[in-house]
Symmetry: D2
Subunit: 132 residues, 4 copies
Amino acid sequence: MISSTTEIRVRYAETDMMGIAYHRNYLTWFEVARVKMLDEINCPYRALELQGFRLPVLEVSVRYLQPLTFDDRATVKATISKKPMLRIEVDYEIRSEDKLIATGFTRHAFINPEGRPTRPPSDFLAAVEPFF
Amino acid sequence: MISSTTEIRVRYAETDMMGIAYHRNYLTWFEVARVKMLDEINCPYRALELQGFRLPVLEVSVRYLQPLTFDDRATVKATISKKPMLRIEVDYEIRSEDKLIATGFTRHAFINPEGRPTRPPSDFLAAVEPFF
Amino acid sequence: MISSTTEIRVRYAETDMMGIAYHRNYLTWFEVARVKMLDEINCPYRALELQGFRLPVLEVSVRYLQPLTFDDRATVKATISKKPMLRIEVDYEIRSEDKLIATGFTRHAFINPEGRPTRPPSDFLAAVEPFF
Amino acid sequence: MISSTTEIRVRYAETDMMGIAYHRNYLTWFEVARVKMLDEINCPYRALELQGFRLPVLEVSVRYLQPLTFDDRATVKATISKKPMLRIEVDYEIRSEDKLIATGFTRHAFINPEGRPTRPPSDFLAAVEPFF
């Protein structure tokens, strides 16, 4: 299992006229947490892209349990529970103070420099190997 | 069943450095289609908010099948298949030319002017009644 | 002079907790108007990018005179008053009903496929020539 | 003079298909720096809004000197040089490594709980007083 926690703070730009964080922004926070997780296993996403790989999102799901508002701090926990093969699944939990704010997941597959779905690049496989 | 179709055109601001529309923006297009659907049944969302109601997103799910890029036109079809009760579920299909680009759904519940979950306001119930 | 008018409708995603359109989004509407203007002179931006050119923003300025809120319709008028040379300047006016909502401008320079500032591509120069 | 520096890191969501940070996002980074500056003088923006005040943007200007790309770190320095009266002007400098990335300013005026332009609330005036 790989797990990583990131702190976010709700920007004014991320609120909507309901006075809460607009639901779309949770996907960006998931991305921030995912990028940090890759940093922490020494396989930064930026380096993978420089090698020509891409890791697009194939599927996303979010359940919104409690709202966040401007300036709220929250932690976004990203977890990979299953050893990544062709598909990579990341689960997320957003918490603020004691409350569970949202849960969700994203599914991904690597795209090679030729633009075709591919198994994960060797750097990525080597980086995740110790965790499973 | 209530169904409504909206056209969107991918803005440059909606692309990312993969050269495709960033996955978060699909949620905005869902919103645009949802708002248009409410217009079409003569129950504009703006009017519901002026009465003090809110319709936050409780859950969202998207499957990304084909990418879109800058300037692509696509249609977003929003459908309510089940008569809205406490929960309202909207399904979406995004198509461009002949291709199915993405599918997804959102789940909602109305919030009353006091900030509590509530059954749908009477204007909304009257507007949807003829379709079920 | 080249001039083009586009209609926008404020998305819920574009509002903030002040209940108005967040100021950042005006830049996106400027972009939408700029893209439409290029379409109208038969020199779509997409085609310029396919030739390897880019037209980044070098400078932007906006004055916000009246707010817009969710679902408001507005027209965005883009105008090129000076014949584009190395620098291209576009002026904007956003109006809604009878009110002037905002004014602004963007400045641009073309980047060639090698990533260096360049004079405008010949397709663009030919397209704008008749207007000056 | 009041001055404050914030660190940002470019999110993938903030890039566009040119491979650089989309120009609109600089306004969000300005906002993040502005909010941090208010925190540092013990006059958090959130508290001002809870008192019913708003601080909308009246004018914005940005000059883009060098691009940023995904994962770049940058510092955003916000400065108030002139004692805030009816109008509040904030200047910004974004730097990354040794490079000046962008400069800009925003102008603001407070809106009171009745929705009318007003002189700054007393908490804000007391907080800025020692700096001028």
